[in-house]
Point group: C2
């Protein structure tokens, strides 16, 4: 029922509509793409495609526009991810290479991606759950307060101020630090609770209250940040695009960490590109938008996800190429550090 020529017609419709932002008619199609058939034939095909729900007309007697289902078919079967040009690759490399720390990597990545795709870029901070503790530091601030710093092998640093019930001197701090590091060094974050469960018992009685306080802060900092940080950039690119839905909703969604998180994270495929098109998106207010996302991370393990958000009418091959490329480069950068 949907033979090759009809697929070619659908592809042509998507491509034309993406580039012109106007409903595309049978004549224009016949002109611009050499499909080898007349407009009338194309019309018949279009009627079938519309019947199947791949395209729709905004009004009677207007051209056709791809539906979400049409974009889906296009992405799945009719398009190829478009690799970046050499110049673009070099630009990415040099732009990311200058990063000095994790914050900087994330910041540069999100800006780069926004600029590259001319859409809104979203980058999730590397998830701590998959990383390991590289060092724990206790810094006395004054008699009753410690700064507790946790450093992971992904370069992430968590800090908390610990208020103590009692006065503690530097020697005891040093001792606690040594014990903590002995216990936790190289330990995966997920297994931290188990590792420290019996730690107070192994300490002299006088140190137990302090240790318990510190551990509670440690555990809290792990849980607290389980909802990971997400940053975005490139909202200015939304101003040009006209959404079917108001862009107020889009901006609101972007500032809701939880929504963003689910957008990026719900797709659990590891390194594959995931595309969520229009109404496939569970959130009202983002109905007119699509998300292209990919996982990234150092080594073989995926640490987090990044992607872009744009109007449903986007150039999927190019966007997917950019997202994939950036994810790869960021992974490289992270692995090297």
């Amino acid at each position: 029922m949907v033979d090759d020529r009809k697929l070619a017609v659908l592809r042509a419709i998507v491509e034309d509509y993406v580039s012109t932002n106007e409903p595309v008619g049978s004549k224009a199609l016949a002109d611009r793409h050499n499909l080898g058939v007349s407009p009338a034939t194309i019309r018949n095909d279009m009627a079938v495609l519309e019947e199947q729900g791949y395209i729709a007309q905004p009004h009677t007697s207007a051209g056709r526009v791809p539906t979400d289902k049409g974009y889906r078919l296009f992405v799945d079967r009719l398009s190829q991810v478009k690799p970046l040009s050499g110049a673009e690759r070099r630009a990415i490399e040099s732009f990311l290479a200058g990063a000095v720390d994790l914050d900087d990597v994330v910041m540069r990545t999100v800006r780069l991606l926004a600029q590259l795709t001319r859409q809104v870029a979203v980058v999730q901070y590397p998830t701590m759950s998959n990383s390991k503790i590289r060092h724990v530091e206790l810094v006395p601030l004054n008699e009753r307060r410690l700064m507790f710093v946790l450093i992971t092998n992904t370069g992430r640093v968590e800090q908390r101020v610990v208020e103590l019930q009692e006065v503690i001197d530097d020697n005891r701090v040093a001792h606690l630090r040594a014990v903590l590091n002995a216990c936790l060094d190289g330990c995966g974050l997920a297994s931290v609770p188990d590792m420290v469960a019996d730690l107070p018992e192994r300490l002299p009685a006088e140190d137990r209250p302090v240790a318990a306080t510190i551990l509670s802060v440690l555990l809290e900092s792990l849980v607290d940040r389980h909802d990971e940080k997400i940053v975005f950039a490139g909202t200015a690119n939304l101003a040009g695009a006209d959404f079917t839905v108001g862009l107020r909703d889009v901006l609101e969604a972007l500032e809701e960490q939880v929504v963003l998180m689910r957008l990026l994270g719900e797709t659990s495929d590891l390194s594959a590109l995931t595309v969520r098109i229009g109404s496939e998106n569970p959130y009202t207010g983002l109905q007119g938008t699509s998300i292209v996302a990919a996982g990234y991370g150092s080594g073989g393990k995926q640490l987090a996800r990044l992607g872009v958000l744009g109007p449903t009418r986007m150039d999927y091959p190019v966007t997917m190429g950019a997202v994939r490329a950036v994810a790869r480069y960021v992974s490289q950068i992270l692995a090297a550090s």
Copy 2:
């Protein structure tokens, strides 16, 4: 030439225009505000005000609209900062009280301010230049790499990975750490370069290259972050307002840290509220917007600035009240931590 009644007329025009978003005519003014005079009189006053440049008419035979100069006069002489309601104050307090660290304080502040004013909130991270070093930490990552962490009394933590030319063992690291802390503890950031200038000379020759590397990273981290981090929130509030200028420009400006920085920072008044109205703003693209900003900081010293950005047609008394209140509360929170 500009007597009290004319000022009252100007005030009424600003208030009406802000609330209705429509050019206000003489009749409407006479109706809504009891100025005790007839529309005709008001018309005469309006003609004078227009002559002076305080108001303008979009077209012949339309009502009047305040000019930037008119808003300026209104802010300077015709309005009083409107204090927040008790409920609002309590909301601020409870919202900010839950913050766990500096990042969290800033994040909560910017969101709070955006919600409170229904505009775009902008918050600058506390400037390091005014703060002091509380602790310097060196953490060996492996034989040739150190994590360098700098903790300030404002709760800020800077981190850098240091790549060394030579292998270094834990004892030497401990020694360097002790030396660095002895040298820098409690030292103001501005005076760091002086303090460390002769430090290598005071070390045994073998440690000098390593110390030099670490110091260069230290100094670089100070300089690097001299352009301070700024965050913003509430861009969704821009979607409703219609700018004379496209909001694309506004969004672009918001993502330019440098522009934001200058917007907040150029006004050097310490704790006073500063208001920049429309064209007083040096940046094209932000011509249709106003900025209300205030300094905040712990103790007597101002550390950084925060504010909101919105359409020139904004409710200045309320906005100023909200900005002032938030600045004060944040200062309290910071002072307490």
